[in-house]
Symmetry: C2
Amino acid sequence: MQKAAIERNNETIAAQLTPVGRETVQDRVYSELRRALIGGLFEPSQVLTIRGLADALVTSTMPVREALGRLITEKALEALPNRSVRVPPITLERIDDLLRARSLIEGEAIALAATRMNPRQIASVEAMLGEWDEMRALKHKKDIDREATLNQSFHFEIYRCCGSAVLIPMIESLWLQSGPCIRVAIYAFSDAGEVDTAHYHRSIVAALARQDAQAAREALVADISRPFAFLRDKLQSASKEGLRA
Amino acid sequence: MQKAAIERNNETIAAQLTPVGRETVQDRVYSELRRALIGGLFEPSQVLTIRGLADALVTSTMPVREALGRLITEKALEALPNRSVRVPPITLERIDDLLRARSLIEGEAIALAATRMNPRQIASVEAMLGEWDEMRALKHKKDIDREATLNQSFHFEIYRCCGSAVLIPMIESLWLQSGPCIRVAIYAFSDAGEVDTAHYHRSIVAALARQDAQAAREALVADISRPFAFLRDKLQSASKEGLRA
DNA sequence: TGGTTTGATTTGTGATCACACTTGCTTTGA
DNA sequence: TCAAAGCAAGTGTGATCACAAATCAAACCA
């Protein structure tokens, strides 16, 4: 077979095959734990063990311990002096601290995005708005997970447009840290009246559409402040009616 | 021996002994690599191997690979598709990106610190100013390392006063990322005229002393902008005179 | 009965090994 | 002479083992 023919043949094959990728076990464990953390599947103060997770994920301890180490360095988990690791507990100071950091950094990211998003990108996030309404309309019981996922996609779709390779990992770290807290608030939300978050998202999109960075920032801060404020009240009243260890 | 007596004896001993701590090998490796990275001991684009570092640090590969994994997640190092790891290369976009993030977050941290620092803390950082002048006076050749260390202490002494357990790790991550870049600039500084950075530090301390958050933020941004601007010019002129791989 | 001690189990840490993939060089064949 | 195949050294990944520290529980003594 001549060289040209082989070349052409390879190209034909390449066009039909999709790259298989080479994700390591460690990467999968890490992604899975991230997902669980952001989704709030672990409770604050819950202790995690390497062997326990390894069994649950059906791997050996090695990939798990490395994934845990990574999560500890980004403050998504906490290393106790006992060497055991737990998801960080909720405190009032931590809630305020996280909200301030998120407002600052995500606010900056969306302000940057507002000046950079092209019509196509804006249309893309606008489409997610519709998806949101759609989901809200049929009111499944799995709403909460779905809502959280969709909410995350919505925000990061915007942040990705800020064009900063430095800010985005920081935002991911912040979501990782506030995930377990937020979930508590979300559950309470769906019990309480729950003004629709879609309203907030709509005003974010509106601000982005007219490239109003300041308005986008303010709308975003209003959006992310809600669950934190809710959680804050909940925590304060809980500690008032009787403090327990 | 009675219980009370034993108790008292233990307390006496405890007062004289300093806690030995229980740092793992992995922690030491991690700290050492951090120090090297912030100090700019590794060059941008340099490739690091697990076994190579393990030999250099006289340990086995295990602690090194876990430390490398942690550094990769905080973007202090970069994982190539080959699975080898290197210190991230310098690009113009990355420089601007890092400076923007640092101005935003360190600016916020110092603004918070300005409103919270007590006279004792202010006196503490003011004392470092004197130490700086002292060092500058005798002009060793080891100036650069010493300067870098002192500069780091100065900044983090202030940041620690911001009272945010969320912002500080982010700042550490940013220093880790800009370390290799900055070092390049520092070297060039000491060749060039080098207006003294002490001047900038003095105006930072002055702003903190009168609790002027806005002035402190501006003085800080001016301080950290200098090496970045310097590096930026250097890079631009280098790419202008001929681009090489 | 209450507090202490002792022992077994669990857990994290580090070392070592086996395996697969990459890389660079040598060898081979046209 | 040159390109492709093959080989060898080096590298990251994951599994397993050994060990020390922590935890928990039962047994023990006062």
